[in-house]
Amino acid sequence: MIPSDLRYTKEHEWVRVAGDVATVGITQHAADQLGDIVFVELPEPGRVLEQFATFGVVESVKAVSDLFAPLAGEVLEGNASLLTTPEVVNSDPYGAGWMLRIRLSDAGQLEQLLDAAAYEALTAEG
């Protein structure tokens, strides 16, 4: 269920790294907990993010949650399709529901993130 090729934050973001570009989203667990997602607010390209800094907001019908950058870097693009179809985050959180691409400033920060087994253990704690 939890993709083994991704890294995770304790705040339920995932990150996929290819070269020096990281793609970021939220996990299925997070999307399920939030419920129907109706709004995603993402940063403009060019913004420089610190690791674990808030980069945006996701809103479900019921609640608002901050989004945290798993890794430091410069924002390359946000997923513009989420402006009109935010519900894709619920239906395909690891694919079409991605949120952000960033150019990594320090790939070593990956070591500070959870692997799939550790993330699964975290969510199993409830």
Binding site: D36, F39, E41, E59, S60, V61, K62, G126
Partner: protein, 373 residues
């Protein structure tokens, strides 16, 4: 394997808890009760009620029976409305206010017989309302019977509600008017059937003894399934009532709010002879005019206005959002807010402070949604 949801410290369970858990509901604590917030998704449950039907467990609500030869007059002295004016079998929206005019709770008052009334209170306020009523009825010849913990309430709401409930009950739903109630049976279970609700749709509320709640729930769920009825949690109950422009106690109403500010001054019977608790203060409030008014807002900018967000008129802070969500029916963010009377005119463009930005919001008439009739 996750542990089965159980009520946390001090919160009560309705007789339907095991059904909710079996249906996969996510449970929350609300008003001192362990309640389902959603079974599948708030949006799909919301749409089911707008287009077909939804089944709600509202057993957390308070049921207060008042009986006696002067029950109507006693209630008229305790509440802001005029219960003796109700015909038997009819109901009205009411409030119980403090001596200073602040709202203790909003209520539905049903007249069950000449000398017998049912007052339905919000879950979180039921003990306070019960105590206040007991005190206010003390000098009367009427008796208050608080059956909140022995009475279950199940609602069927939506355009298919009548077709689902009709074949199961000896109550004639074709002649049961909006805000009316009748005693009868549903699937053989003794029940009070009322045509009331909190969704903006046609629908019914069925009061039964706790012991029969499980059987009633199962029968309604099975009977309604072919019509598309689904169980609906408190999450969609909130978005449905917000679209319908109905107040939620704790958001639009509280001890520091008068009925006039909430746009509900019409329910206060100042013209009626006789005293009631809060009368003097409410008469003064009516005379002085409201300091703020409840309005509907449609957010034209980006973002969702939520409870507690400030509302601005230029650089003047005019008020605060009381409830807000993305309207599932309209597809845009909607909110209710208290603003200065001068800013409450339909068409006024205000701004809601959403995190570190401001979104333009237009004052619109309530309700946001009215069903086609």
């Amino acid at each position: 394997m996750t542990e089965i949801a159980r009520p946390t410290d001090g919160s009560r369970a309705t007789p339907l808890l095991s059904r909710h858990v079996a249906l996969g509901a996510r449970m929350i604590d609300f008003g001192g009760w362990h309640m389902p917030v959603q079974y599948t998704s708030i949006l799909s449950e919301h749409r089911a009620v707008r287009e077909r039907a939804g089944l709600f467990d509202l057993s957390h609500m308070g049921e207060l029976f008042v009986e006696g030869p002067d029950a109507g007059e006693a209630l008229a002295g305790a509440l802001v409305t005029d219960p003796p004016s109700l015909e038997v079998g009819r109901a009205h929206y009411s409030m119980i206010c403090a001596p200073d005019g602040g709202v203790i709770d909003d209520l539905i008052v049903y007249r069950l017989a000449e000398d017998r009334f049912l007052v339905v209170a919000n879950a979180s306020n039921a003990p306070v309302v019960s105590d206040a009523l007991a005190e206010r009825l003390d000098e009367s010849r009427s008796i208050l019977d608080d059956r909140s913990l022995a009475t279950a309430l199940v609602a069927v709401q939506g355009p298919a509600a009548r077709g689902i409930l009709g074949p199961l009950t000896d109550v004639n739903l074709a002649t049961l008017r909006y805000y009316a109630i009748a005693e009868g049976a549903v699937a053989g279970i003794p029940a009070l059937v009322a045509r009331t609700g909190y969704t903006g749709e046609d629908g019914f509320e069925v009061f039964v003894d706790d012991a029969a709640a499980g059987e009633l729930w199962d029968i309604l769920l099975a009977a309604g399934a072919p019509s598309g009825l689904v169980p609906v949690g408190l999450g969609a109950r909130d978005t449905l009532r917000l679209e319908a422009g109905m107040p939620l106690y704790g958001n639009e109403l509280d001890r520091f709010t008068t009925p006039f500010e909430a746009g509900l001054g019409r329910v206060v019977k100042l013209a009626r002879a006789g005293d009631f608790v809060g009368r003097d203060a409410l008469a003064r409030a009516a005379e002085a005019g409201p300091r703020r008014l409840l309005v509907g807002l449609m957010v034209r900018g980006r973002g969702i206005a939520r409870h507690g967000y400030p509302v601005w008129a230029g650089d003047r802070r005019t008020g605060v959002v009381t409830s807000g969500t993305q309207s599932p029916t309209l597809g845009v963010p909607i909110a209710m807010a208290y603003v200065a009377p001068g800013d409450a005119v339909t068409g006024t463009m205000l701004e809601v402070e959403i995190r570190d930005t401001r979104a333009v919001a237009e004052v619109v008439p309530l309700p946001f949604y009215s069903r086609a009739r």
